[in-house]
């Protein structure tokens, strides 16, 4: 993708990737399910736009962190969906992302509210 130097996009990618990986930890899901899950879990606070979700899924697939396959739905055998699964590499990546995020927010918090730590 072209030049994405603005801080917001970086943050968006990193955060959204992590949220997708975390969602797939529960098991395989197709794009719509992933978006709904994030939206519902955060009580509509985080709304994942199609324009962000599908590029992110394809990027993660390219990096080998998730795999994708058209499969028949469990409930409705007549329809096919593109299901995504977490790969072992993706699991490792999720652990790494999570600890990076925790460090980052911890660091921010220490600067912002020094007293809180005491």
């Amino acid at each position: 993708m072209p030049n994405e130097s603005s801080g917001r996009i970086q943050l968006l990618q990193g955060t959204l990737d992590m949220l997708i990986l975390r969602t797939l930890l529960f098991g395989p899901a197709h794009g719509h399910q992933i978006a709904k899950h994030i939206q519902r879990t955060t009580e509509d606070l985080l709304q994942v736009e199609h324009g962000s979700l599908y590029p992110a899924l394809h990027r993660l697939e390219r990096k080998g962190w998730i795999s994708a396959k058209w499969e028949v739905a469990e409930k409705d055998a007549k329809r096919e969906f593109k299901y995504y699964r977490l790969t072992p590499a993706g699991k490792k990546q999720l652990v790494a992302e999570e600890s990076k995020w925790r460090k980052l927010t911890g660091a921010v918090a220490r600067i912002m509210w020094p007293a809180e730590e005491s």
């Binding site: 917001r8 943050l11 968006l12 955060t15 959204l16 197709h30 794009g31 719509h32 978006a35 009580e43 509509d44 606070l45 985080l46 709304q47 994942v48 736009e49 199609h50 962000s52 599908y54 394809h58 329809r79 096919e80 969906f81 593109k82 921010v108 918090a109 912002m112 509210w113 007293a115 809180e116």
Partner: protein, 866 residues
């Protein structure tokens, strides 16, 4: 190949979306559309993607709405307060709008009513700026003017309606045949008057009102052609006027005016009401100029009668609404202020919440929500609150509207009443949206900026500088508006107090009043003076004999029931008056005990007595105003005057009494003369007594039936009307002012409460925010008293700021209220002082609670708390 795959994936997603939307019960159109997107041609996916973006805003608003509902459900206290504050503001505005609509906006029941005017004689030098025109003047106006398409006239009168039912007194108006065509109304049944019927000696025909038709004649369609009895004469009903037409005031019956040549020549007898229709393109000002010009010509041609006599053109709407317009605008301005304060209050609360929600918005911004999107989310929240407030406001309006009916002048009451209707709901919808925008814009701006500039770098607690400065400004504004309302309410309350304590010149307490108008113009026994005298004598004898009755008396008109009823007179020994300088005084014919009954004080000489009969010397009593004006520095007792007309005998003054407020509670008593009703010389025609006053022990109304029975024992065909305690008569004169005062008072109280809550909320919030800081300070040795003082000082600064702005605004605005005030200056220092005192008191109370809470912070817990 990859592109196909993406398209297919997107399409399945959309398919699911459509199914979910149908399941969620969203609109068919939307679901249908989504489905179409989902099953569309595979090569059209790019367009479908474009469609997604087209439908996005609606989906987003639905999402925002769901999110807003959830957010509000999480803080029910805030939601409840916000909705209640808006409901009070919006409901009050809706209720007042219903009155404004009924009185000022709804079209009159006449064709092109905006071009209808009433024309008066301007007789200001005699104290009658709007006087009823004389027939000859009306005729000259009509023939000489070029500004009106037509002019019509009528005369107000009372009739005894008898036969087919109990005797009943009804207001009726003899009218010129062109009146109803000029107004643009025609009978719904039968026909109107013809020109030949409007001639002396013409047939006795009548039109009746819809109300009378329904009430007395049960809506019988054969009424046209039937005979009815008015003042014991037979009239044929020729038609029924449409519902709501009671023109000019409460008329139920119309007859042809049918003036004869003698009447058409009258210039010194003023008794017509004149209505006209402006020609297309002619303005009110042009008509006024034309009429003033004609009045000047008439002054030159008829100096004896028309000197100093002008003409005044008033639009019909203004005439019907009368002096209520100013009160209505004042109430409207007041209720607008309440809504503004409610909005400011809500804006303050939303700003406070915004400070706590920065992080939430920052996260959303980080996840790709644009700034506009964030602002929309914030606005959707205030729109939801306003919609709920508006819905609750409708209920408030439904409850309040019955109390507001008294604000509609009787002239309009028959056809225009405040009610819940489409214009009202449309107004309420607009007001709700306005309230949402007013209260939501600032917080939305702050929030969307927070989401962007603040991003995740800032925390949830600190950095409230910008928005709390805004909140302080809002509080100052709220306090300022509350001051304006308090001052307005204070001035009007003081006016009402002054008016209800004005010395009236009589004592209305314990007096029962009623009207028994005798038919004298037509062929009845009461045409004869002695028959009338006998009626009064017997009624008074029977009524006075009732147990509990102290005294009873008859008069031409009770005080405050008639703005005219005057006669011109000549003072014995004085030089004849200059042209246009007519000696004129209110003229009342009374029975001996009348003045004593209503409690008018005798200042000199004696009252009338039974001996002042037909055979005795002619006597009169004058009031102090008349004595001062015509016998200055002399003893008026024993002096003589006579009416300014041929063959009038002389009357000798035997007594002087206090001035009575006859024309209005806020108008000083005019010159007035009383004549004994047993002497025909002063008791002719129009001045025949009709009003009965009875002073009793105990509740006046409890005597009503006994008195009515006594009157019907004398004449069972005599209508008895307007039975009421005299106190009620006076209260009726003040009722619209009374309601205006109560409304503005209620609005002032409401605005004070809202401003106090706003102040309390801000201070309590600040104290919570600064809990740690205060804890540190106290740990470092600050005493609780100092903390208390600091918070109190912050609150009082805000109050003082608002007070200064509010006082300045009041000083500028209250001049507009001057026409509603009576012996109170618009900048009355007592009222301003009282408003300031009330505000400081309430402000201190609102500041005390958070200040006390701040002072009782325990440093140890405060430091551990975070």
């Amino acid at each position: 190949m990859r592109q196909d795959d993406l398209e297919r994936e997107l399409r399945t997603d959309l398919e699911l979306e459509a199914a979910e939307q149908r399941a969620a019960g969203l609109s068919d159109a939307e679901a249908h559309h989504a489905a179409r997107r989902a099953f569309g041609n595979i090569t059209r996916v790019t367009e479908d993607v474009r469609e997604i973006s087209r439908w996005r805003p609606i989906e987003q608003v639905a999402q925002d709405l769901r999110y807003a509902v959830r957010t509000l459900r999480k803080s029910p206290g805030f939601a409840l307060f916000a909705v209640l504050a808006l409901a009070l503001g919006l409901g009050a505005n809706a209720a007042i709008f219903s009155v404004v609509d009924a009185v000022l906006l709804r079209p009159l029941p006449f064709r092109d009513a905006g071009r209808l005017v009433e024309v008066w004689e301007d007789d200001s030098h005699m104290g009658f700026p709007l006087d009823t025109p004389a027939p000859a003047n009306f005729a000259d106006w009509k023939h000489r003017n070029h500004v009106f398409t037509d002019m019509a006239a009528l005369k107000g009168d009372l009739y005894a309606l008898t036969g087919d039912g109990p005797p009943e007194q009804v207001e009726g108006s003899p009218v010129t045949a062109n009146l109803f065509p000029l107004l643009g109304v025609s009978p719904i049944l039968g026909r109107g008057f013809s020109a030949t019927e409007d001639q002396p000696g013409g047939p006795r025909v009548a039109l009746i009102s819809y109300g009378l038709w329904q009430r007395r004649f049960a809506g019988d369609r054969t009424i046209a052609g039937r005979d009815i009895w008015l003042d014991n004469e037979k009239y044929q009903v020729i038609g029924v006027m449409p519902r709501g037409v009671t023109f000019p005031e409460q008329s139920q019956i119309w007859l042809p005016l049918a003036l004869g040549p003698r009447e058409w020549a009258q210039r010194d007898s003023h008794y017509l009401r004149v209505f006209a229709r402006l020609k297309p393109g002619v303005t009110l000002a042009q008509a006024q100029r034309e009429m003033t010009g004609i009045a000047r010509q008439l002054t030159v041609e008829y100096p004896a009668t028309n000197t100093n006599l002008g003409a005044t053109v008033v639009s019909l709407r203004d005439q019907l609404v009368g002096n209520l317009k100013a009160a209505l605008w004042a109430v409207t301005a007041g209720v607008g202020c309440v809504l503004l304060i409610a909005c400011a209050n809500l804006a303050g609360l939303l700003l406070a919440r915004a400070a706590g929600r920065r992080r939430e918005f920052a996260v959303r911004a980080a996840l790709g929500a644009g700034r506009a999107r964030l602002a929309t989310q914030a606005l959707v929240e205030s729109l939801l609150l306003a919609a709920l407030g508006g819905a609750l406001g409708v209920m408030l309006a439904v409850w309040a509207i019955p109390f507001l009916r008294h604000l509609v002048p009787t002239t309009l009451a028959a056809w225009s009443q405040p009610r819940i209707d489409w214009p009202l709901l449309a107004f309420l919808a607009c007001a709700s949206i306005l309230a949402a925008v007013l209260s939501g814009t600032l917080p939305a701006m702050v929030l969307s900026r927070a989401g962007w500039a603040g991003s995740l770098r800032q925390g949830g607690r600190t950095s409230t500088g910008g928005s709390s400065r805004l909140r302080r400004l809002l509080i100052i504004g709220e306090v300022g508006l509350a001051v304006v309302l308090l001052v307005g309410a204070g001035l009007l309350t003081k006016t009402l107090w002054k008016l209800s304590h004005v010395p009236l010149g009589f004592r209305p307490g314990g007096v029962l009043t009623m009207r028994t108008a005798l038919p004298i113009s037509s062929d009845t026994p009461y045409r004869d003076f002695t028959a009338r005298s006998e009626f009064y004598r017997r009624v008074l004898e029977k009524v006075t004999a009732l147990p509990g009755v102290v005294s009873a008396g008859y008069t031409t008109f009770l005080p405050l029931t008639n703005d005219g009823g005057t006669s011109a007179f000549i003072v014995e020994g004085a030089p004849p008056p200059l042209p246009g300088q007519i000696n004129d005084a209110n003229h009342r014919a009374i029975s001996a005990a009348y003045l004593e009954t209503i409690g008018v004080r005798l200042r000199a000489g004696r009252s009338f007595r039974d001996a002042d009969g037909p055979a005795a010397p002619l006597v009169a009593i004058v009031n102090q105003a008349m004595a001062r004006q015509y016998w200055p520095a002399q003893n008026p007792l024993g002096r003589r005057f006579r009416f300014d007309r041929d063959k009038s005998p002389w009357f000798t003054i035997v007594g002087v009494v206090d001035d009575v407020r006859q024309m209005g509670i806020d108008l000083n008593g005019r010159a007035e003369m009383y004549f004994p009703c047993r002497q025909a010389a002063g008791t002719y025609g129009y001045f025949t007594p009709r009003d009965l006053a009875i002073r009793v022990n105990g509740d006046p109304l409890s005597y009503a039936t006994a008195v009515e029975r006594a009157i019907w024992e004398v004449d069972r065909n005599q209508p008895v009307a307007d039975v009421m305690p005299m106190q009620q008569l006076i209260a009726g004169k003040l009722v619209s002012r009374d309601i205006a005062v109560k409304l503005i008072g209620a609005f002032a109280a409401l605005s004070l409460l809202l401003a106090a809550l706003g102040l309390y909320g801000l201070l309590a919030y600040t104290v919570t925010q600064r809990r740690r800081e205060i804890g540190v300070r106290m740990a470092l040795g600050a005493r609780p008293g100092q903390v208390l003082e600091a918070v109190l000082r912050e609150g009082l600064y805000l109050v003082l700021g608002g007070l200064a702005i509010g006082a300045a605004a009041s000083w500028a605005v209250m001049r507009g209220l001057a026409s509603l005030l009576y012996s109170v200056s618009p900048s009355d220092p007592v009222v301003f002082g009282a408003a300031a005192a009330v505000l400081l008191l309430v402000g201190s109370i609102a500041s005390c609670v958070p200040a006390y809470r701040a002072a009782s912070i325990d440093p140890v817990t405060a430091l551990r708390y975070e």
